[in-house]
């Protein structure tokens, strides 16, 4: 209990720091959202209307401290304000519309990458010296190549040239969103290339981590004893070795869940995927403080919650950490 309370206190402090940084960082950028709007709209708005627009967007010239107090107050009431880019849509609506796409795509891809990567790591440690050893350098190579480059290559080869998979959008234009077979099939079809990008680019970590711990574990006495008892190799491999070797990978999985929300901004941009990363890009381009703050908040909270979960999972799985 004391452990839990201490952890919670720590997380509250971190959350406050994150919230404050979210407030400060966008305001340190040069420029002003309304001036940007005027520059971008190329004459569709008279600069004389700027003052009135600032009022509509809720941009105040008040001191930083007043703004900060207002911001904290609004946050406390769960109000994120209205987006400037998508005015007058509420920031919470923009996030609610885009978050499911990111969680769906990146979440599923992370899960696949984790399951496949971990299993491959187990197998590779078990069957050292076979052709499987060749998988690691290949995976590491793909890991070393930038994310978006993999994405661009996939779009070019499978999207534009072969036209096997769509290279943009979350679903086809001919389907109407809804819980229908057509729609879900279209979503899965459109998610293929981006998901493959994420899996391919992130798998090496899991393989490498799992394989290394597994190799160490395989040298332990209890594994030797299990083999000596004449247990099947499958049983030794999964129930004795892998089960003990998986602990660090669980932590890294829990941590990576936090980054699911932060998403793969570049992947989303390359595939024109309507997730939170694309929204964040729009927000930054337009100096949309409310939208940036809202998205950063959601991302930081997700990372914190994932960290907390990782802490808790560790406590449950490994009694030694409970002291």
């Amino acid at each position: 209990m004391r452990f839990l309370a201490r952890r919670l206190g720590f997380y509250l402090l971190t959350a406050w720091a994150a919230v404050t940084l979210n407030f400060l960082i966008p305001r340190l950028m040069p420029g002003d959202p309304v001036d940007l709007l005027v520059a971008r709209l190329k004459g569709n708005v008279d600069p004389a209307a700027v003052e009135a627009m600032k009022k509509a967007f809720g941009i105040s010239d008040a001191g930083l401290w007043t703004q900060y107090v207002d911001y904290l107050g609004n946050l406390f009431r769960g109000e994120l304000g209205r987006s400037i880019t998508f005015f007058p849509t509420e920031v919470s609506t923009v996030i609610a519309d885009s978050l499911p796409w990111t969680i769906g795509l990146v979440g599923v891809a992370t899960l696949i990458s984790y399951v496949v990567g971990t299993s491959l790591g187990v197998l590779m440690a078990w069957k050292r010296g076979t052709w499987l050893d060749g998988v690691l350098p290949a995976a590491t190579f793909l890991h070393a190549v930038p994310y978006f480059w993999v994405a661009l290559v996939l779009v070019f080869v499978f999207g534009s040239t072969l036209q096997w998979f769509p290279g943009s959008r979350a679903y086809g234009l001919e389907v109407t969103p809804g819980v229908t077979g057509d729609f879900l099939a279209s979503v899965a079809y459109h998610a293929t290339l981006p998901a493959v990008t994420i899996v391919v680019a992130s798998m090496a970590d899991r393989i490498l981590g799992m394989r290394n711990v597994m190799v160490t574990t395989l040298g332990e006495d209890y594994v030797v004893m299990a083999e000596a008892k004449g247990l099947t190799s499958r049983r030794v491999m999964w129930a004795y070795a892998a089960r003990n070797a998986i602990l660090p990978n669980i932590t890294s999985f829990a941590l990576s869940l936090g980054f699911v929300v932060g998403g793969s901004v570049l992947t989303e941009i390359v595939f024109s995927y309507p997730g939170i990363g694309s929204m964040l890009l729009k927000g930054v381009e337009n100096e949309d403080f409310p939208l940036m703050q809202g998205i950063f908040l959601v991302i930081s909270l997700a990372v914190l919650v994932a960290n907390l979960l990782a802490d808790l999972a560790y406590v449950l799985l490994d009694p030694r950490t409970r002291q």
Binding site: A49, M53, F87, P88, T89, D97, G167, P274
Partner: protein
């Protein structure tokens, strides 16, 4: 901000392409697929009072304005929801006579009350008055007559009053807060109705009771969401019929060897100029600006940096063709010519050590970055050292606005008449002290003669007098070089004639051809007819 070469050759063929139209009494006319702006997703916003969040087509296709102004022919207007207007009280009052028999798409009649309500909303909520019209009051004189009063003489604001303000139905908008209302089920007087909306696509079908009989011909218009990357693929694969996009290699990506159907037309919609910061002690000397102007090879900039998509600007900065009547007669045929010897001559009296400037450009505008490099090379030939500096868009907007730069490049929109452009380039009231963000006149030009001409223009409704004022301003542009025009900023428009013909062209510039220009895009749609007719 790229430009175009106009290929008269391709355009001569307009209207005579007969390829592949499926017609006949049985076949329904095909939908038109439009890409207006780069966007990954759409928000459900069809409130014409809004600026950017609002989806394209809201003004023009759904809601209409009182009059239509052809920006490609300054001075040419057409009656729309209003049949005529009359100024009185020294330009502080205008009376519109409204068209009768127009209906909202819910069947209710369009009346003077709707017009009054629209303008009263702008008085009540100044943040919706995006054209900064100085409204004092609005009242209905009769079911078909509306009078608007202004705080100041407003002749020059006619476009903002009747050409860009979309009239909304009072009976639906009065129940809402117009500032935050997103109007998901728009009811307008225009040629189209919204029938389908999702985050990736919205669709409009024609209003069968539209007041222009027999129009529109195009039954369905679809707006899919394309990001800047995806739109290139969309054009390449022929998914899009009408786009307003910058295409890096248009012949390869879009035209694909079929100039008779895959057409484009990039008319000027503003001028891109080199801004000298006139608060800089050296740049404030006219002979230095003259020398810079003489040294820059604008033809090369247009050809290399702008891929030939545009043309070198007229020295007055007034867009040509279209603005001929506003050119000063003495400089009608003026054109830029590089003259290194004369430039060097002009710089003789200036200490060469002082001829060092920084040229600030926004790095995302790669064409401007290229242009800046060319300018640097040109100016080096006359002994001026230029350091080009690319910065983030936000940073550039802020620095240019506050006047903390030596030289920069910026586009000034043309608007519906040269007044808008000249005022934002030359009006001294817009020139704020260095350090305060300005909203125009970024180079800080202060000249009593310019101000007087701008006032003269605004004080009259007489086209000839307005032209005379514009000519005076044009003369100042040529002789005093408050800014150095480089080339025109083009309006982007790619359109395929395989389904429909009748698009604007250099021969028939009846409207801005870009799908992102409101309400011009609706005027284009109303002029389309099936291919082969």
């Amino acid at each position: 901000m790229k430009r175009l070469t106009i290929m008269a050759v391709a355009l001569v063929l307009a209207g005579c392409s007969g390829g592949g139209g499926q017609k006949g009494p049985g076949a329904a006319a095909p939908p038109l697929v439009v890409h207006a702006i780069d966007s990954g997703t759409f928000q459900e916003n069809f409130n014409p009072f809004h600026l950017e969040g609002v989806n394209f087509g809201t003004t023009g296709m759904i809601y209409e304005t009182l009059e239509y102004f052809n920006k490609l022919k300054p001075g040419e207007t057409q009656p729309w929801l209003a049949l005529s207007h009359a100024w009185s009280n020294d330009g502080k009052t205008i009376t519109f006579t409204l068209r009768q028999g127009v209906k909202w798409t819910d069947g209710k009649p369009f009346t003077a009350d709707d017009v009054v309500f629209t303008f009263e909303t702008m008085i009540k909520h100044p943040e919706l008055n995006k054209s900064a019209v100085e409204l004092a009051g609005a009242k209905a004189l009769a079911p078909d007559k509306v009078q608007l009063d202004f705080k100041s003489t407003s002749y020059a604001k006619l476009f903002n009053i009747s050409g860009s303000t979309a009239i909304v139905p009072k009976h639906l908008f009065e129940k809402e807060n117009p500032v935050t209302f997103t109007n998901p089920k728009p009811v307008g007087t225009g040629p189209y109705k919204l029938v389908k909306f999702s985050a990736q696509l919205y669709e409009m079908t024609k209003n069968p009771d539209y007041w222009q009989p027999g129009k529109p011909v195009v039954p369905t218009v679809r707006f899919p969401a394309y990001t800047a990357n995806a739109v290139q693929t969309g054009l390449q694969q022929g998914e899009i019929d009408w786009a307003g996009a910058f295409v890096p290699d248009i012949d390869k990506i879009y035209v694909q060897g079929k100039p008779e159907t895959n057409k484009y037309y990039f008319p000027p919609e503003g001028v891109v100029a080199l801004l000298p910061n006139l608060t800089h002690p050296v740049l404030s000397k006219p002979e230095v600006r003259q020398a810079i102007s003489l040294a820059i090879d604008r033809d090369k900039i247009v050809k290399v940096a702008e891929r030939g998509y545009t043309k070198v600007a007229h020295p007055t900065g007034i867009p040509i063709p279209g603005g001929e009547a506003f050119l000063p007669p003495a400089y009608k045929n003026a054109a830029y010519k590089v003259d290194i010897a004369k430039a060097k001559e002009l710089l003789k009296g200036v200490d060469p050590a002082q001829l060092k400037f920084q040229l600030l450009v926004p790095s995302p505008f790669t064409d401007w970055v290229n242009a800046a490099q060319l300018i640097r090379e040109d100016l080096a030939k006359v002994g001026i050292t230029v350091e080009t500096r690319g910065v983030a868009f936000q940073d550039w907007v802020s620095k240019v606005g506050k006047g903390s730069y030596d030289l920069s490049i910026r586009a000034t929109p043309a608007g519906a008449s040269p007044y808008f452009q000249m005022r934002s380039l030359l009006f001294s009231e817009l020139a704020k002290p260095v350090g305060t963000a300005a909203t125009g006149n970024y180079q800080r030009w202060k000249d009593a003669a310019s101000d007087k001409l701008i006032h003269d223009y605004a004080a009259t409704d007489d086209l000839a007098a307005q032209q005379k004022a514009a000519q005076g301003l044009g003369t100042i542009m040529v002789e005093k070089l408050p800014v150095l025009p480089l080339f025109y900023s083009p309006a982007w428009a790619q359109f395929r004639t395989s389904k429909y013909v009748g698009w604007p062209s250099e021969q028939d510039p009846y409207a801005m051809p870009s799908p992102y220009t409101s309400p011009d895009a609706a005027v284009v749609l109303l002029n389309l007819r099936p291919a082969g007719t």
